[in-house]
Amino acid sequence: MNDNPCTQIRHDFPIFEVSVDDQPLCYLDSAATTQKPNQVIQAVKDFYQSQNANVHRGLHTLSEQATTAYEAVRRKLAQFLNVQSREIVWTSGATASLNLIAYGLSDSLKKDDVILLSPLEHHANIVPWQLAAKRTGARIELLPVDAQGILQLEQAKALIENLKPKVMSICHASNALGNINDVAALIASSKSSGTVTVIDGAQSLLHLRPDLQQLDCDFYVFSAHKALGPTGLGGLYGRYELLNALPVYQSGGEMIDTVSFSGTTFRPAPEKFEPGTPNIAGVIGFGAALDYLAAQDHDALFQHEQSLYQSLLQQLSGIDGIRIWGDTANNVGTVSFNYKNEHHYDLATLLNTHGIAVRSGHHCTQPLMAHLGIEGTIRASLAFYNNQQDISRFIAALKDTISLLEE
């Protein structure tokens, strides 16, 4: 297997020079948060060192420059997603984006309307809808997922046509299992019912770089920290008419037209949804992440991730007693598994003594774990900065751990 694209790229990520517990870091937890390239770290630093000012409304040069840089990233992201700039709203993360949308769409939900989710969803794409359902009397229905954790596309399409959901909110890729859902097909099926479609892109922005016009969804949410960017930033895309029609969510400065104690009027989207001082340095850093991605050959990176994933799968399957969950044929590079009846907590703790950073537990997807009939899994999630050595170290550590448990 050729590690070429990776060897170069790995040097861009300073975390790999760090020792953790006196061992080089083997980071297999990118689904939780990705590591950051020097370019992003430097952009944040540069902003604070030489450009720091608040944005909008400032007439002085520093503030004008910060505003220009900040708004340029909105355009950059719009280009990346193939949508219009005014359709991009910055938030503090995917969770905040989903809350904004679920709150906003509540206005158009009424008793017995259907909100369609799937058992694969992250809590952030469940609980806001539960609260919306509680407020409005709408009911939550679930798309069919099999015992392995794979969405059943044909049944799903039939269900959509049957239920005519008001809202469908589905992850593009599952954070717990890595499955890529055929969201384009689901969206297409829902068109005839006028369903508002929301795609949780937290796990897909980096790995799949979706073209949202092609997906044809109404909303798409993401977190910057899961796509090489800084923490504390996320956003959403909303089809403009739908987006602009959502009611105000959080309110404050920047997003108002006029305020008086006799009445307040708001600006159109996206300003309407961006009250207060935004995460300016976060946006600037994310701009650097988008530049970084644009400079790479996406296909090469994706091939590299996929070949690492195949190698990981193959070696794992060779170990007796390993049970791998999810769709291994359509996957962003996340392996979720159990070993016999051993507790994921013991496995993760022992793997960590070898310097292996994996996640264990329910991955904020308790309903999925209940559906699979387990308490949790060990999850090893890849990004393009991983290499074959990470895989070998992980497999060696796992074998060692297993023999310790089997003693």
Binding site: H56, R57, E64, T67
Partner: protein, 135 residues
């Protein structure tokens, strides 16, 4: 006031204080709009300061008549430049103009962006919208 005159007087100044002095002088030369015309309808949204704009057609000559005002001196000066660009034009010719480009040529754009630049853009957009209504 013609554009080459404006271009010339702005070019004389390297420093921004000088350029702004010229811009404010241009504004001073622009007749004040009667208060009665400063209606909410005439307000251009998206500017940092208040800008009122009226666009009309001299039916006989088929030439545009623009009047505009602002509560700030600098924006009023910028309005004078925009007006110099559109006033007395045939509607069809005016439709092809881009005052924003002119500001670039005058070396004003760099310093205008983004909030002042957005103001200029908003004014220019408003003019072009009203031009379409005329046609």
């Amino acid at each position: 006031m013609d554009l080459s005159h404006i271009e010339h007087s702005l070019a004389q100044h390297g420093a921004w204080q000088g350029k702004y002095r010229e811009i404010m002088l241009l504004g001073k030369a622009l007749p004040a709009m009667p208060d009665a015309l400063k209606t909410d309808d005439a307000l251009v949204k998206g500017c940092e300061s208040k800008v009122w704009l009226h666009l009309d057609l001299d039916e006989q000559r088929q030439r545009l008549i623009l009047i505009a005002d602002s509560d700030t001196r600098i924006v009023k000066g910028l309005l004078a430049i925009i007006l110099a660009c559109y006033n007395n034009q045939l509607p069809l010719e005016a439709g092809k103009l881009d005052a924003y480009e002119l500001f670039d040529k005058l070396g004003l754009i760099k310093h205008l962006s983004p909030s002042r630049g957005n103001g200029v853009r908003a004014i220019v957009e408003r003019i072009h919208q009203q031009l379409q209504v005329l046609q």
